[in-house]
């Protein structure tokens, strides 16, 4: 981790922890003041000049603290607008699919239509994610859409955000599980001293590790190939793997918490409910397994290994 990234992580960790349970508008002010929206905008344009690994770090922390704000969508929109020689005044968001988190709060939205990236606004009809957060449909006013003339894989980028958030959320669930089972006594000793509980938590740690490594691998591919879509293989592999991690990990986290983890008073639900929604966003298992499978069959058996290695080798 670079020194810059370490500082960035510290700043994000503190800020997001402090925002827990707050108001949307407060978030907007504080996140704006901290300059997170400009994370991927180059320093020459007064941005932070971060890379995709930096974004992964910030989104991991957003996931860990269950940040209730469309941070990733905003960071990506600001970057793409910069690519197009523009900058965003209001809360511009990037939309990779039909519904948009906090669409009602958005100014303009970046969407892809017929292979073009457009800046557009529209009528919002309210919806809700499984976590109980706004997730709205927008009926776009295509007549007023502005083509940006840039290349980007919006859907893949949304998938990347969810993978990173999942990595953080699973680590947070693991932390809760360790804390809870260390404190809670049953049958005369802490739950964490039971071998079966230890084995469940170990398996949760394995899944959290898989999601974290998948996120980093996808970030490395984005750093290497850019956001035009060439990193789709790595992003897809990461999304598919993190969806498995959610399936296995969320169940284990709840298992070791017993009924306590199932209440609104206990913070585990903030993680579980979000993660369950993310499994659909940026492509579900069926979507990515079909894509990845088809790509692999095209490459062939030796070709798969050639591709996987060539895509990480220098040069």
């Amino acid at each position: 981790m670079s020194e810059n990234r370490e500082q960035l992580a510290e700043m994000a960790d503190g800020l997001f922890a402090g925002l827990r349970g707050g108001e949307f508008d407060t978030f907007q002010t504080q996140i704006g003041e901290a300059g997170f929206g400009l994370l991927l905008v180059p320093e020459s344009s007064e941005g932070f000049g971060g890379d995709w690994g930096d974004l992964a770090t910030v989104m991991r922390l957003a996931g860990k603290h269950a940040l209730a704000w469309p941070l990733g969508e905003h960071i990506l929109a600001a970057r793409l607008l910069h690519d197009a020689g523009r900058h965003a005044d209001a809360l511009t968001l990037l939309a990779g699919e039909s519904s948009i988190p906090w669409g009602r709060e958005a100014g303009d939205v970046l969407v892809e239509r017929d292979g073009q990236i457009l800046l557009v606004s529209g009528e919002v009809s309210a919806g809700e994610s499984p976590a109980g957060e706004p997730r709205d449909m927008v009926a776009y006013d295509w007549d007023r859409a502005v083509p940006l003339g840039i290349e980007a894989d919006l859907f893949g980028l949304i998938a990347f955000l969810r993978v990173c958030q999942t990595a953080g959320a699973l680590d947070a669930a693991l932390e809760l599980a360790i804390e809870h089972t260390g404190q809670r006594e049953q049958f005369g000793r802490p739950l964490s001293k039971f071998q079966s509980v230890q084995q469940s938590i170990a398996l949760l740690a394995v899944e959290a590790a898989a999601a974290n490594c998948a996120a980093q691998g996808a970030a490395a591919a984005l750093d290497r190939f850019g956001h035009g879509g060439d990193a789709r293989f790595e992003i897809g592999a990461a999304k598919l793997r993190s969806n498995i991690a959610i399936k296995v990990g969320a169940a284990l986290a709840h298992q070791v918490h017993g009924a306590i983890g199932f209440t609104q008073d206990y913070p585990l639900h903030e993680l579980t409910r979000r993660m369950m929604g993310w499994r659909s966003e940026g492509g579900n298992d069926a979507y990515w397994s079909a894509r990845l499978g088809a790509q692999t069959l095209e490459w062939g058996g030796q070709g798969l290994w050639d591709q996987i290695t060539r895509r990480t080798d220098p040069g």
Partner: protein
């Protein structure tokens, strides 16, 4: 908290040339044998292949040149291992010597031991096996009963080791023996490097459930070994042996040893495969890709001098699970008749039978998860 702090794998600049050199070597030396042997490839013994590999400089890659090593970088060696395993090369004969025994001698061995064994290990002409398990010990490796008694002439060894992979083709065994009489558990144990042609040693095959011979029982009947056979410090055997085990947890062999099946299935299918088969391939590839990220991250951490105990155990546990599930997942969707005699069916049938052992070898799933739990502060 982050349990798996991801360490970036900075591949050496010459990564591609290492791969192409090795692929050229494999094209010349891949024995013209049954492709089924490429399944589970690091258990396949092929001394001729190991010698050729040693002669080409791919063994003892990190060791000092005075011992026949090649002083290459750890991540260069990692790339070589990846390529060998992905190709299903029969690396079983030299595997333990190159991966564990050699590094252990460099760390704890005497000058005499290094000079005696390392050049042969690096040449691919001498092989080693590990003597840890004993009858009744199972996963409880500290329950060692085999004894080493110190005499003026040397150490006298007696007892029995079991599940010893490759003892029948190995020149030496690195064994954990109880060197302090009536000591208990982890204390009073020492490691000895024992030449297997000494009088009093009997090696008997244990044939596994599908008829192949990898395992052995090894009996020590008052075997006299010189004082110089003691490795490291007397009584420190447990610490040394567990450090040795850590060397085997996170390498690419934890997710690539059965890669031949995945490659063969992909090649047999082509773009018109059913949606169900295609999706299964996609899912397996996503897991394999993720495991590679994880394994590379641990390799990078090891190369930087850190010993990531928890991360390595995580990779091993997940890798074992992946390799165990892969043949079953393929069987579940592939329209294959396991009796049709085709290479693919035989490959699949072989791995279906071997794969239940994948969560046992080199530490059972429960032991690994216990190590992870300890790392998380639960024990």
């Amino acid at each position: 908290m982050q349990t798996f702090a991801v360490h970036p794998f900075e591949a050496p600049e010459n990564a591609q040339s290492i791969r192409s050199d090795l692929r050229a070597f494999l094209a010349q030396h891949q024995p013209d044998k049954d492709p089924v042997l490429r399944a589970n490839c690091w258990t396949e013994f092929d001394p001729a292949f190991s010698q050729a590999l040693g002669a080409a400089g791919y063994l003892g890659m990190l060791w000092p040149s005075q011992y026949g090593g090649h002083e290459r970088l750890p991540l260069e060696r990692y790339i070589v291992l990846e390529e060998l395993l992905a190709a299903g090369a029969p690396v079983g004969a030299h595997w333990i010597a190159d991966r564990q025994t050699g590094p252990l001698l460099l760390r704890y061995g005497t000058e005499e031991q290094r000079e005696k064994y390392l050049p042969g290990f690096a040449a691919g002409t001498m092989y080693a096996c590990i003597g840890l398990s004993e009858p009744g010990s199972g996963s409880d490796l500290a329950s060692v009963r085999s004894s080493a008694r110190k005499t003026d002439a040397g150490w006298v060894l007696s007892g029995q080791k079991v599940w010893t992979t490759g003892a029948h083709i190995s020149h030496a065994m690195l064994a954990l023996m109880r060197s302090e009489e009536s000591s208990e558990r982890q204390s009073g144990l020492s490691q000895f490097l024992i030449d297997l042609d000494l009088p009093g040693i009997t090696i008997r095959p244990i044939i596994d459930m599908f008829g192949t011979h990898h395992f052995n029982e090894v009996f020590f009947d008052d075997v006299l070994v010189p004082h110089g056979a003691l490795v490291g410090k007397e009584g420190e055997g447990w610490k040394q042996a567990t450090a040795e085990l850590a060397l085997e947890r996170s390498g690419p062999e934890r997710y690539l040893s059965s890669h031949a099946l995945l490659a063969a299935v992909i090649d047999s299918l082509g773009p018109d495969a059913s949606a169900e088969v295609t999706a299964t391939i996609g899912r397996l590839v996503s897991e394999m890709w993720t495991l590679r990220q994880m394994s590379m991250s641990v390799a990078a951490k090891l190369a930087s001098g850190v010993d990531p105990v928890v991360e390595a155990s995580i990779v091993k546990d997940l890798g074992n699970t992946f390799e165990q599930e892969m043949p079953l997942a393929i069987q579940a969707v592939l329209d294959a008749d396991l009796a049709d005699g085709s290479d693919l069916s035989r490959l699949l049938a072989t791995l279906l039978q071997v794969s239940p052992s994948f969560s046992l070898r080199g530490g059972t799933r429960e032991i690994l998860r216990g190590i992870i739990a300890r790392g998380l502060g639960l024990r």
